[in-house]
Amino acid sequence: MAAMIRASFGKGSALLTNNAALLSSRLQPVVVTQLSHTSTRSQTGDIAYKEMEEFWEKNRRLNRPLSPHLRIYNPELTSMLSLCHRATGIAMAVTVPFVAATLLGLPGDFSSYIEYIKDLHLNPAILTAAKYVLAFPICYHYINGIRHLAWDWAIGFDLKTTYQSGYFVMALALLVTAGFVHLL
């Protein structure tokens, strides 16, 4: 038990992420008591954690349905921009190392592949679209990243500012992307 508690403070954190994945497939969550600071928990905390365990056990046993979430919830600016931030982040984290590693392995240098693409004589609209797709993630993620940094200092959290900054970030990201594509 003590080992599990020690593991929960960072080093053995794979245990926790695995369990999070298990939970999302609605299997029995095991980790509730692992997170609690059992050495410092009060009686209230003990009752609370016991109630949580009983909740999961009871609902699994009764096989109750889970109310719909993703398919019914309104797409809000807040959640859509956050999703975009995550998607662009993952896209870049995957493609940049992959492309770099591939180019490292393949013969010839970077400019020979640009020549190859030029020789394909693709429709310029396709090339422009591809440039937009490549430029947008970095622009959007960078500019929204500044918004996130402001939030880390608890600046700009009220709803009106959140919405205004959200629209501004999206507009600026599209503008800068267009600038990169057409001016560079």
Partner: protein
């Protein structure tokens, strides 16, 4: 003409004048409500949507009025929580038209061409129809110990003296104490959907912050230390669905941001020693 005590002949005459001047009955304005239904007592029942038509001319303006009308006149088996009907108890929280609000505060959309969709709070185990199991939410609230904790130890003198607080310190609680624990914010958070066992959620975290920032409470460091793990606070990725959906206009996202700031600044080693003492 016989009169009852207190009646005037004038009222009869004016009443007749009024009814003869009244227009023909207004055409019924039928609004469709598509409501999530599931009955645990029907073996093998699957959750489904059931549509009801309500005449808005004979119904109150809020979605809760429509639900009560449906239950009274059309389908008594429709099950939902409700109490105060004025937006202060938090019982009737549900997902209406894609957003979490209180049914008693949500005006019915007058557009007769569209059905209003009503679901229970998202990603919660359903007890029946629109009633979710809130026990986990309440247990999480209990786990943050939402009461005043003083360090002077003795229980003998509780209530003898008022705990004094400056107006500035009291102002810090504005926007925090008004929470009615309706769970609209927590159940609007995708992070809470995926991690409702370990992530506390915006409602509970805002209340944790309410006690951390209360000048009368002596256990701020210990309360912060309780949050020192990967999941209790740090599953918040500032999605900000919580603030958008709060039917009371509160800002849980801000409270969580402030907790994160406090966690960065407080002395965690000292808190650990205090907590384990």
């Amino acid at each position: 003409m016989t009169y009852k005590t207190g009646e005037l002949d004038i009222t009869n005459k004016t009443r007749c004048a009024q009814t003869s001047a009244a227009t023909a009955p207004e055409p019924a304005r039928m609004k469709k409500f598509a409501v999530y239904r599931w009955d645990p007592e029907k073996p093998g029942d699957k959750p489904k949507m059931q549509t009801y038509e309500v005449d808005l001319n004979t119904c109150g303006p809020m979605v809760l009025d429509a639900l009560i009308k449906i239950k009274n006149e059309m389908d008594p088996t429709l099950t939902f929580r409700r109490s105060c009907r004025e937006g202060i108890c938090g019982s009737c929280s549900m997902n209406i038209g894609g957003s979490n609000t209180l049914a008693c505060l949500c005006k019915i959309d007058d557009n007769l061409g569209k059905a209003t969709k009503i679901y229970p709070l998202p990603h919660m185990y359903v007890i029946k129809d629109l009633v979710p199991d809130m026990s986990n939410f309440y247990a999480q609230y209990r786990s943050i110990e939402p009461y005043l904790k003083k360090k002077d130890g003795s229980d003998k003198n509780i209530g003898d003296k008022q705990y004094l607080q400056t107006t500035g310190d009291r102002a810090k609680l504005d926007g925090l104490y008004e929470c009615i624990l309706c769970a609209c914010c927590s159940t609007s958070c995708p992070s809470y959907w995926w991690n409702s066992d370990k992530y506390l959620g915006p409602a509970v975290l805002m209340q944790a912050y309410r006690w951390m920032v209360d000048s009368r409470d002596d256990y701020t460091s210990e309360r912060l230390f309780q949050m020192e793990d990967r999941f209790s606070v740090y599953r918040c990725h500032t999605i900000m669905n919580c603030t958008k959906t709060c039917p009371k206009g509160l800002n849980p996202g801000l409270a969580i941001g402030e907790i994160k700031k406090m966690l960065a600044k407080y002395n965690s080693k000292e808190a650990k020693q205090l907590a384990q003492a």
